[in-house]
């Protein structure tokens, strides 16, 4: 699409190539992958505003945003990976691994906390590289490869922590050098108008911005879509398939690192058994946000909105004072409705093209 030349007004009698037709802004909007999830998010928001008294107050919304951001920090890179056509089942425990490495390295070496944080970044990225290299060098699907990583990390989290600390959780690093500044970066609270917002919300927004920029404005973004849409075709036109996939796994690892550091610095100690099962929630958020499970389609903003829906539902149920026995059921209904709505909007958008 050329931005310089103004498009000729499409009149009924001039026959132009349909590929060159300039879509109206409304049609362009309808074609966006995240539109369905945005509509779903608005529906969920209105629903809880009506049914839960305290949902709409600023502090409650800050809590909802926090819940969404802790999920969204992972859902965004996971969505990119899914657009690239792959899964990562190790994403949930990788968060715990990252926090454990950072905490235990600092403690055992009596190092400045920041040293542990950087070591953790390197190791976590290395896990991402491991996933990516294993995938691109061997034949099994990413589902199996990362399932293996998931199991290994789960075991290593418990095993190493018990071996090194003697207990199942790490020792507190709150009194160590560098802790305060690291806490400021990863787990501080920003007060705006008397309402406390967690810094994870900023990290989340930052990740959304970067991921969207990569996807829509860079060559790498084209590679990601190409790799997810058709690997062989992408390879044939010279897209570096292996490098792109390894990069995507490193992106997930980077998200896991941020989440892990947040866990560590907000709670001082890390429980080694946590994180299992969260990987599915990340994937669900991405799917609600319009990512196709088969790859090649989706957006970072959509995944973020998916995380927001999840945050609103999980906390909205508490605000609405519903019986928690039904929690999962309500969650399921909400997610299904959001996804169906999403699907319907997309179908209509494609039909009107």
């Amino acid at each position: 699409m050329t931005a310089t030349a103004p498009a000729p007004a499409p009149s009924p009698d001039t026959k132009t190539d349909e590929r060159l037709l300039k879509a109206s802004p409304l049609k362009k909007l309808m074609g966006r992958p995240e539109l369905g999830s945005v509509v779903g998010a608005i529906a969920v928001f209105v629903f809880f505003t009506v049914t839960a008294d305290s949902f709409l107050q600023a502090t409650s919304l800050a809590t909802v945003l926090y819940a969404a951001s802790t999920l969204g920090i992972m859902a965004v890179p996971v969505a990119l990976l899914m657009i690239g056509g792959e899964f990562d089942l190790s994403a949930g425990v990788m968060v715990t691994t990252s926090a454990l490495i950072s905490s235990m390295f600092s403690y055992q070496m009596t190092a400045n906390v920041w040293v542990g944080v950087l070591v953790s970044l390197l190791v976590t990225l290395a896990i991402g590289v491991f996933n990516g290299v294993m995938l691109t060098r061997t034949d099994p699907p990413s589902f199996i490869i990362t399932l293996g990583t998931f199991l290994m990390l789960t075991g290593m989290n418990l095993g190493f922590t018990k071996l090194i600390s003697g207990t199942v959780s790490t020792k507190s690093i709150a009194d160590m050098e560098g802790f305060t500044s690291a806490k400021d970066v990863f787990a501080s609270t920003i007060t705006i108008g008397g309402v406390d917002f967690k810094i994870t919300i900023l990290w989340w927004l930052g990740l959304i911005a970067v991921a969207t920029w990569i996807l829509l404005r860079t060559r790498v973004g084209n590679w990601i879509f190409a790799v997810g849409g058709g690997e062989d075709a992408a390879r044939a036109v010279g897209v570096p398939v292996a490098a792109t996939k390894i990069g995507l796994y490193m992106g997930v690892a980077f998200g896991a690192w941020i989440s892990g550091q947040h866990l560590l610095f907000s709670y001082d100690v890390v429980q080694s058994g946590e994180g299992v099962g969260n990987e599915l929630i990340y994937i669900i958020a991405a799917v609600i946000g319009g990512c196709l499970i088969t790859g090649g389609y989706g957006s970072a903003v959509g995944a973020a909105v998916g995380a927001l829906i999840f945050g609103m539902v999980s906390k909205g149920i508490v605000f609405a004072e519903w019986n928690p026995d039904w929690f999962k059921f309500f969650l399921g209904v909400m997610l299904l409705l959001a996804t169906l709505l999403n699907h319907w909007v997309r179908k209509r958008a494609e039909a009107t093209k």
Binding site: L158, T167, S169, S172, Q271, E274, K315, K328
Partner: protein
Amino acid sequence: MARVQTGVRAVGAVLVAVLGVSLAGCSSTGGKRAEDARKAATAQGEAAVNTPNWTFGMVTHSGDGDTFWDIVQSGAKQAAVKDNIKFLYAHNAEAQQQAQLVDSYIDKKVDGIIVTLAKPAAMKGALARAKKAGIPVITVNSGSAESKEFGALTHIGQDETIAGEAVGEELNKRGKKKALCILHEQGNVGHEQRCEGAKKTFDGKMQNLYVTGTNMPDVQSSIEARLQSDKSIDSVVTLGAPFADTAVKAADSAGSKAEVATFDLNEKVAAGLKDGTLGFAVDQQPYLQGYEAVDLLWLYKYNDDVLGGGKPVLTGPQIVTKDQAAKLEEYAKRGTR
């Protein structure tokens, strides 16, 4: 076609007959009717006080569908009815999620919060926020060491180490020499403390065995394998009531004579105590934990009372054996033990 219709008619007639018989021939024991009778017996009652209708929220680290927490809730609800309290409950096994649930209750401006500190560090911030918002907090079940430090009014629960020590002593009393401690959740600090406490007071030898609590066949086969490989083990201690029965089955199929004892109580454990398949159980009385938490919060709001003088209020351990089994079975059935 006609034959099909007669066939349908015949099936219908049989169904009607079966239904009629089953209606006429009611079971005189058990079933829904017995449950309803029990429920009527434990009448829900009306508020015994005319204090404002305060709202108390409880957030636990329970997973979905955990029987133990049903009993805690039933205690809390009974106290809430009596104290004219609106009782809210939420739970999540993941520490961060649990803390966020507490945040939600603070946002809702509840009048009191009851919370478990299974993963204490994760809850520290949430408790600080509650304090800042002027909402009194009582910790229950786990976290006796951190409760006061985090600014809670008091802690209600069982000290896991003390409970473990009670088990060690009971094993000594029964002349046991070699015991297995079955941990069904890797990474649970309270579980480790229970086994360590037992190890401390037990004169014989005690070994830990980790099993996957979410996978019963795995629990059974692991215990079975261990008992088969070491015939000198004469007692098995499980850390949760649902695992006691499995341990008994494992001992049976392994041909081991090991006596099974367990932490916590349920209907099946009570029955096992009664018929002698279980040695003893250590009850931390979850009903009390829920009941007392609500009642003490009410006392604090109404009368500024605090129980325990800053020290944890212990709800256990109570060692229960065959002697109390009949009564316990009845109470377990109605969901209060």
